[in-house]
């Protein structure tokens, strides 16, 4: 049984660029991004004012649902800004990265660095919006509220926001993969023990094949790979929208 939660495999290391390391999760993310771009190109090919093809209807449904999400969580004045495509891209990338584990890749979201990158991006956007809507004085004054003594607490909670989002996403995906690995290992041992009870040559041959590994892991994979992936992507995006909307004073 091999439960591996150490960092991603390093495929290539370039000492000339200051020890730049190309990891497996970077390559997988690139592949996911390429697939997403190709899907977008396919869905938006020869669009017409009156939709004739199914794929245009799907594309329009995607865009309107993201617009509705942004309108509900961030307010009307964010509609039509850069945040609509940003949230859509974040959702698609997060869900795509997590689901890539179905195709045998090690999901990039199992790597803390990937999710921490998104968390830092969201933190920058929150701070940018706070300064944009409240001014730099208002931003600094926000730390001293409600009383001046609370300043250290406010600074900690400011830093905890992106960290909590990161660990929530990372922890959910990693716990799913650890549980799946444990169940695979357990089922292999169990089928070896149970099928070994059959006497004669039939038992000794059958006990080498982990027959019990069929079935149950598929149901778990349905939950951990599909449901959990979309759920975490949705939650990450909703929290992003709530925090940015809150920073803008809605």
């Amino acid at each position: 049984m091999n439960v591996d939660i150490t960092g991603p495999r390093i495929l290539l290391s370039i000492p000339a660029l200051g020890g730049f390391m190309l990891t497996e999760s970077v390559v997988t993310t690139w592949i996911v991004m390429l697939i997403l771009v190709l899907i977008c190109r396919f869905l938006t090919k020869d669009m017409q004012v009156r939709p004739q093809k199914k794929r245009q209807v799907i594309a329009e449904w995607m865009v309107t649902s993201i617009q509705d999400l942004v309108k509900n969580d961030m307010g009307d004045n964010f509609l039509g800004t850069i945040y609509v495509p940003f949230i859509g891209a974040l959702f698609a990338l997060s869900a795509g990265c997590s689901i890539s584990s179905v195709f045998g890749a090690k999901a990039p979201t199992r790597d803390l660095s990937t999710v921490l990158g998104w968390g830092v991006l969201v933190f920058i956007l929150i701070t940018y919006n706070k300064i944009k809507y409240g001014g730099i004085g208002g931003y600094l004054k926000g730390f001293t509220e409600p009383v001046f003594v609370m300043t250290p607490m406010n600074i900690i909670s400011e830093i905890a926001t992106p960290l909590s989002m990161t660990f929530r996403h990372f922890g959910n995906i990693v716990s799913g993969s650890v549980i799946t690995a444990l169940i695979y290992g357990g089922l292999s041992v169990l089928s070896h023990a149970v099928l070994g009870l059959i006497p004669g040559a039939v038992g000794s041959v059958l006990s080498q094949i982990p027959l019990l590994q069929f079935g149950l892991p598929a149901i778990l994979s349905l939950y951990f790979d599909f449901f959990s992936s979309f759920m975490q992507a949705f939650i990450f995006c909703t929290l992003t929208m709530v925090y940015i909307g809150g920073a803008a004073g809605n």
């Binding site: 439960v3 939660i5 150490t6 909590s164 660990f167 922890g171 990693v174 759920m231 939650i235």
Partner: protein, 92 residues
Amino acid sequence: MDAQTTQVLAKAIVAGLSALGAGCGMSGGIGPGIGEGYAVGKAIESMARQPEMRGTLTTTMFMGCAVAETTGIYSLIIALILIFANPLVSMF
């Protein structure tokens, strides 16, 4: 006892206590379990009262569950660090 034996013993004690700590730390999973169960129960009550609000209630419930899950996830991460990437063992 020579120095090497002491070192091995120290590492063994740290590793064993870390495993114990990871197990104890996962008792942090109790809180989210209770909290999520409570949230889902309330959501079902509301759905029984207002079945037409089902969509909104389900979305909000999942959001709340995911946020309530955070403390459990924190303890999971601490447990994983203690088991797989223990920083304390290398101190000896």
